[in-house]
Every structure is written in C-alpha cells, then in structure tokens.
Point group: C2
Chain length 218, copies 2
C-alpha cells in the first residue's frame, strides 16, 4: 500500500485488514507508516498491518496499491518500479489539480493510470479502481459504503483481483473496460466534488443501475 | 430537436411532448421528421410535435437539442449555426467511435461538447446532458427511468433549463460542473456498454448516491 498513510490509502488498508488481509503500509516516512499500521491493528484488534518505506512495501506483496496525490504519482512509481515487475498494481490516483478540484482537468493522454502503465511497461499489470470512494466511508468499519467501484484494466486476472478486493472492503465492483476507460472514474471525482458542494452533501457517490441484484462478479 | 428521428432524440421528444412541450423534430430528411412527429402525436394523443429540416427546427425554439451521431455532430452544427445565436443548445452527443464502442475514445481536446462550444462561440450557451439514458427507457411512457442525468455547462440558466427538461422527462438531474466536466458523461456511455455486455443486461445506468431524497434542483 504505497501512500498508505493518506486518508484514502489508510481507509482501504483498514477495510482489508479487517477482512483478514495482511498489509504493508508504505510511506516516504516509514515512522508514519508504522504509526498508521499500529492504529489499524488497534482498530481491527489483530496484528495484520506493518509499516515500511514505499520500496519495501512494494517489494512485499503480490498486489501493490498506489494511493498517493496526483502530483506524487509518477515520482513514487519511479522509486519502486523495479519492485513491481511481475506484479499487479492497483492505481487509485485521481488527477485533481488544486485549487480547481471540482473541474475535470485530465493529464496529457487523458488518464493518470494510462500514463502510469506507459511508464511501468508491460511487466507490470496495472488496473485502476477506488477513485470515487469517500475515505470517510472507509474509516468507519461496519458502515455500509454507498458507492460502486469501477475497475478498469487490460488484464483479466488483475481486474478480478481488484474486484475481489473491493468486495472484501464492502463494496460492489464492476469490470468497466480497458485501462483507457479509467478516464471515467478519474474524472468522476471532480463531478462528485461539484455535486457535494452544489447539493450541500459530504459523500456523494455513484451506483450502477439496471442490474439484477448482486451482479458484482467478474 | 436536431436529429430528432434517431432513437435517443425521438425518445426524448416523446417524453417532452407527453409533458406538454411543443417540439419541432428536425432531420436531414424532413419527410422522416414529419413521420416521427406523427408517431409521437399518436402516442401522446395530442398534436404537440411537428417535423421540419434541421435548420427550420433550430430556428423554431429558444432551446435546441442536438442528438445526432458523433460523426455528424460538427457538420450538423455547421448547417444551423446562425440559427442558434442567442439560444441554449443542449448537446447529447456521445463520442462513440465504432466498432469499439465499449472503449473510451475521446476526441482531441477531451470532450465532444467542448469542441461544439468552441465552434459555436460565446453567442450560443451550450450544455451537455442525457448521454447515458437508454433510448429504450424513454420510449415507454410511464416506465420509470433508473438513470440520473449529469448536466454540465458554463452558464447557470442553461444548466437550469436542461435540469428542468430532464425532470419533465421523468429523470433526476444534477448540476455536474462546467462544460469541461462533460467528459465524464460522454465517456461513461462506453463504460455502461461494457457493463451491459459483461453482466448480460441491456440498460445499465448510473445513480448518484449519498444525497437526501430528491435533491434534484439547481
């Protein structure tokens, strides 16, 4: 879990630790990663999380999750690139460009995750997911999360891994197409920020409609 | 209603005629526009629709709706450009590029409607809406439409007009930000096509979650 001390990353890590997964929290500051891991273990009541620097965190698991601010995305991947070869990377990056975070401002090429895949090369199977889930929802274990997850990626096994992890964290998740389709989830966060402001709510999200109940498998 | 003989355009026109609006159906082939108008009048039971060519249709109303295939968007606007000055244009264009309609392939600049606004200039207030609503849902009057509408535009009055028309057609609609945010709705259609195929459903859509019931006003 690269960037695991941030709100979104630590929220996901908490949910996964609660579901029984072992987690290595990574951070540029390993001491903060250890603090976050200790807080997660305390909340879950079992020792399932540990802290490390980002490189050690990337080296530790078969599935690596990237949850850092957009401005740190490529630099973080550059630091850990060699440790990701042969693995699945789930990229949570949302290309928000402060101060206008309610306005869609996509990077050149259209998608942050497409840019990450291009940088990492074919040796890393990249999927994107979790861009639209409020960190506040994740933090409260037992709280139902009223937001579906769109999973985009070019590799079927990597998509399936992300969908399973979303389900473990208490969400419905959908195969939403190739990596290029990630534009929707990456840009949707700015729309949800606009809706939060416009309608004076805190955690708007999306649900896929028109499906039979629980059509959430790959 | 430019492109009012197509599935999406005629479905919207039917809903609006049913809600009491007068509609001029436009088409490159005025005879087909008159046939569509007659069918709408027959279904609604009142004479509220008439047919014309696209230029006459654009000249007839204060609010003009564009619902043509992506490949015809700019050519159609070019034909009617002078008739749109001072008006509101609601652009329904989805940048699908067959045969890969399940893959997001946005035009240069990122958004079909941003391109339309650039071509039309500031004299036309452009908003985008209705890209994600299944035409089949629209066709059946009385059938509840389980899909919310994202309305994007830089002009408040134009957004409000589109939101009101969505409500008249039986849908919840949301102010989703400036015209640039239309990327989300334009690209989302390919994600919904992917979900339809993947989960073997016909009319997936989206709903905004996390809101108080009926927070659908501007």
């Amino acid at each position: 879990m690269l960037g695991g001390t941030g709100k979104e990353g630590s929220g996901l890590a908490l949910r996964w630790a609660s579901a029984g997964h072992r987690i290595v929290i990574g951070s540029r500051a390993p001491e903060r990663a250890r603090e976050t891991a200790a807080a997660i273990n305390a909340q879950v009541g079992v020792e399932r999380a540990e802290g490390a620097d980002n490189l050690a965190a990337a080296a530790s698991g078969e599935i690596v999750v990237l949850a850092v601010p957009f401005a740190a995305q490529l630099a973080t991947l550059g630091e850990v690139k060699t440790a990701l070869v042969g693995k699945i990377l789930i990229d949570v990056t949302v290309p928000l460009m402060p101060p206008q975070v309610g306005r869609v401002q996509l990077p050149d090429g259209g998608s942050a995750v497409v840019r990450a895949q291009a940088m990492l090369g074919e040796g890393v199977r990249v999927v994107s997911a979790f861009q639209n889930v409020s960190a506040e929802h994740l933090k409260e274990l037992g709280h139902a999360i009223d937001c579906d997850v769109l999973v985009c990626g070019d590799d079927r096994e990597a998509r399936a891994a992300a969908i399973a992890l979303a389900q473990d964290a208490g969400m419905r998740a959908f195969h939403a197409g190739p990596l290029a389709n990630s534009v929707v989830a990456e840009a949707l966060t700015s729309v949800l920020i606009t809706i939060n402001r416009q309608y004076k709510v805190k955690h708007s999200g999306i649900a896929i409609t028109g499906l039979p109940t629980e059509a959430s498998d790959v």
